[in-house]
């Protein structure tokens, strides 16, 4: 049962990922990413990470993806030329991707850590529950938590700076550039 769930999730996550990379229209890529994220959330559930899975769906697939969709709609369809201007890139990119995968897999499979080979230890009830996560977060990772909030603030400020109100003179500059 668990295996089936895993493979379903894995296929969803992988398929989504490949679709993100492979689809020509960015809008579809965004949608594919949503599929990927949701599948991943399923895998998180299998790993007893309920809170993470929930956050994944709510925050990520929900909020963040909405941003993507907006922007994708705003900037419109972007045509990517088929012609590859960088010599060797087309050959090397998949090659390196493959090599990367092989290396990481060797690291995982070649590791002598016993725990890798089984499902993991029996875990107490409530592992991964919001309560436990909350406790760990506030007891041990308070700084991370606080910093993350500052980071969000800063990112918001950054987004405002970059995409926010139009400032005087900007139109003029952009007109100049187009003319």
């Amino acid at each position: 049962m668990e295996a089936v769930a895993f493979f379903a999730g894995a296929i969803g996550a992988l398929g989504g990922a490949i679709a993100v990379v492979g689809l020509r229209n960015p809008f579809y890529s965004v949608l594919a990413l949503v599929v990927h994220l949701v599948s991943l959330a399923g895998l998180f559930l299998l790993l007893h990470a309920e809170f993470v899975a929930a956050a994944q769906v709510v925050v990520y697939a929900g909020a963040v993806m909405v941003l993507y969709v907006f922007v994708a709609a705003y900037v419109g369809g972007i045509q990517e030329p088929v012609w590859e201007p960088i010599p060797g890139q087309r050959l090397l990119a998949p090659l390196l991707g493959g090599a990367l995968f092989i290396e990481l897999s060797i690291a995982v499979l070649g590791s002598s850590l016993r725990a890798l080979g089984d499902e993991g230890p029996t875990i107490p009830a409530g592992f991964g529950s919001p309560e436990q996560i909350g406790t760990v977060l506030l007891e041990r990772f308070l700084i991370g938590f606080e910093a993350a909030s500052m980071l969000l603030l800063l990112a918001a400020v950054g987004a405002v700076v970059l995409a926010g109100r139009k400032r005087e003179g900007e139109e003029a500059a952009s007109e100049e550039a187009t003319s």
């Binding site: 990379v21 990470a49 922007v71 030329p81 991964g128 990772f141 969000l152 970059l162």
Partner: protein, 99 residues
Amino acid sequence: MAVEWYLVLSALLFAVGAGGVLIRRSPLVILLCLELMLNAGNLALVAFSRMLGNADGQVFALVVMVVAACEVVVGLGLIVAIYRRRLPLNVDELRGLRG
């Protein structure tokens, strides 16, 4: 299922994401691919967390989600700024700086 499986899947996702950055030219899609890579990391973290029976990894994964969100926000902001500035939304054409 053994944790290995999750990790191998994570590695595959990481590689796919990396490959995507290498071959896609739309900054939007590149951002998506970066998401893929971070998510691969998250999967690994959660898998290890399961393996170790230790919730640290899950908390880490949550923090990574925040980070990913921040990167997305800033990245999208940049894309908008570039678009407003009437510059091509193709990373290959953004090569005024080189040499």
